[in-house]
Symmetry: C2
Subunit: 340 residues, 2 copies
């Protein structure tokens, strides 16, 4: 087995680990439900256990470092998980320090949306571009920006909080307290909420049949729209308009070569795309209208391979990619790194 | 006289030229009304005439290059002014080629908002920071973003078109065709329009007395608010709320160390600032709330000194600044460059 990075994608629901090759190929993968309510020590214990499992089962792997991603806010330079709303008891956890001491390997940390942006840029829908905006639309809306061949970080790594860009004065109040956030009107959650309000339990609608008369989710809306259901089609149309307004802002603000849409709602990209495009053509200034909007290619691998690339790759696409040089990478690798 | 850059700030109303030293000091300055309706050849003729005037009157200056800024859209890398709405007959004008052939000097081009951002960052309100967003609020709203010590350009240099970021669903249609653009609700023009609608000729209001019963401008509103006029104060309050919403977006999207507000409306910065601040405190996520919002310091010099810095400076503040090395700069300078 060739040189690999140990990669972790720490989510509020699932903790994923993998061994990833330089090519972006995932050669081994493990996951388990995150003990999200149990505090940082318990979850770090899970990470260590999964790491050891991967290393034990792949004893020939030459592991040169650990790339991890976690929900923001986090400080990628300092290596600190500041306080993600989905992980109880995580306050300024120095994850890089903890993992590098534990494993004696170089560790890099990035927020999950930035890692997914890196993954799609280096190995997915953004291959060959110099800049892109990655937008993940699911429960919330997050994003990562690659510009001039690098993640755009800003102060404390906090740039590209695109879910909390105000795009309207209407709609439900966002969990952040403001009205009109992109996320509050255009996330999968917002779409499900609109569908739930538009229907009622027992009304016989396709949406409520799919949801078994429970709350309707974005997934049900996409499923119903695929069968031609008129209510679902209208909901998809309205959703795509909001996405188009938000994407137009991203074009005007970041001027990327490409927008890549990921997250759960990307499953309905083909249905959403025509109205997203029409909204951009209507609202964007002419010079921005020819920028492609494409679906993500890597699914839930994007964060893992992006995190791994923090260890495996440095440099820019289209130019010579140089390996990250670490003193630690010159040791004998996996066997030495395994800890109990 | 020391080494200088010849700088031009080509506006739709005024054409400004200057000789600027490495320190940012403007050692000579000329200006005249732009022949904005006369096409590119006439205006380039004005630039050449002003350049020769500056060179003639400062024959000891050692001019090492020309830094110019012009309204967008323009392509800074290719050196092409694409088609600014305020300059008739400018379509894909290769300004760098034209001026470098004319003067035999290196020429650099940047859009006016980016040049002003560079000026404020290197010599004004942003000295010592690594990142800032410069926002100019006057007839329209424009901006420039400095990140990691560089102007954030994006594809074709088109990033930071912040005036056309949608922030609401209400208000007058923007000249770009969309509803809800930051510029359409928060520019000086929008403020003047609201003041004009709220009053009527002959109503005896302070605003109409200041405007001599003509249309009320943003300048009149600021002037009246300074005297405590209640209507003007309310207008300033509403204006500051819109600015606060837009600035919150800029914090979430770019995460700068600083926002610098320039343009005509910056004259009322002290009146606007408390409500801008309160709006940010209400809407921004906690991690962004401590970012200072400050007024620009350089006034109408910002674009000139920023354009000059494209020639005079390379590198980042706080680190060693290296001079741009040009073969041409090693010649004897001004006398050789002067043309008829």
């Amino acid at each position: 087995m060739s040189t690999v990075a140990l990669a972790f994608d720490l989510g509020g629901t699932e903790l994923r680990g993998a061994l990833v090759e330089r090519s972006g190929e995932v050669v081994a993968r493990v996951s388990e439900p995150t003990l999200a309510g149990a505090g940082s020590e318990a979850v770090i214990g899970q990470i260590i256990a999964l790491a050891n499992k991967l290393l034990d089962e792949n004893s020939l792997a030459k592991v040169i470092g650990i790339g991890a991603c976690a929900p923001g806010p986090l400080d990628p330079k300092a290596g600190i998980v500041i306080g993600p709303p989905t992980l109880a008891g995580w306050h300024n956890v120095p994850l890089i320090d903890i993992l590098s001491r534990q494993f004696g390997l170089p560790v890099r940390l990035e927020n999950d949306a930035n890692a997914a942006a890196l993954g799609e840029w280096r190995f997915g829908a953004g291959r060959g571009t110099e800049s892109l905006v990655f937008v993940t639309v699911s429960t919330g809306i997050g994003g990562g920006v690659v510009a001039d061949g690098h993640i755009y970080h800003g102060r404390r790594g906090l740039a590209a909080e695109i879910g909390h860009m105000t795009i309207t004065g209407e709609g439900d109040r966002c969990f952040c307290g403001a009205v009109g956030c992109f996320e509050a009107v255009a996330s999968g959650t917002a779409l499900g909420r609109r569908a739930t309000r538009l229907t009622a339990p027992g009304d016989g609608s396709l949406l409520r049949r799919l949801s078994k008369d429970g709350d309707v989710s974005a997934r049900h809306v996409v499923e119903a729209a695929r069968t031609g259901d008129a209510t679902a089609r209208d909901l998809v149309e309205a959703e795509a308009k909001w996405l188009g307004i938000g994407f137009t802002n991203l074009l005007h603000l970041y001027s990327p070569e490409l927008i890549v849409m990921g997250g759960g709602l990307a499953n309905g990209f083909d249905l959403l795309s025509p109205t997203i495009r029409a909204t951009i053509d209507e609202r964007a200034m002419p010079a921005y209208r020819d920028v492609p909007i494409v679906p993500a290619e890597l699914g839930d691998r994007a964060g893992l391979v992006g995190a791994a690339s923090l260890i495996l790759w440095e440099g820019e696409p289209g130019t010579a990619l140089s390996m990250v040089q670490n003193e630690e990478s010159k040791t004998d690798g996996a066997a030495d790194a395994r800890v109990g």
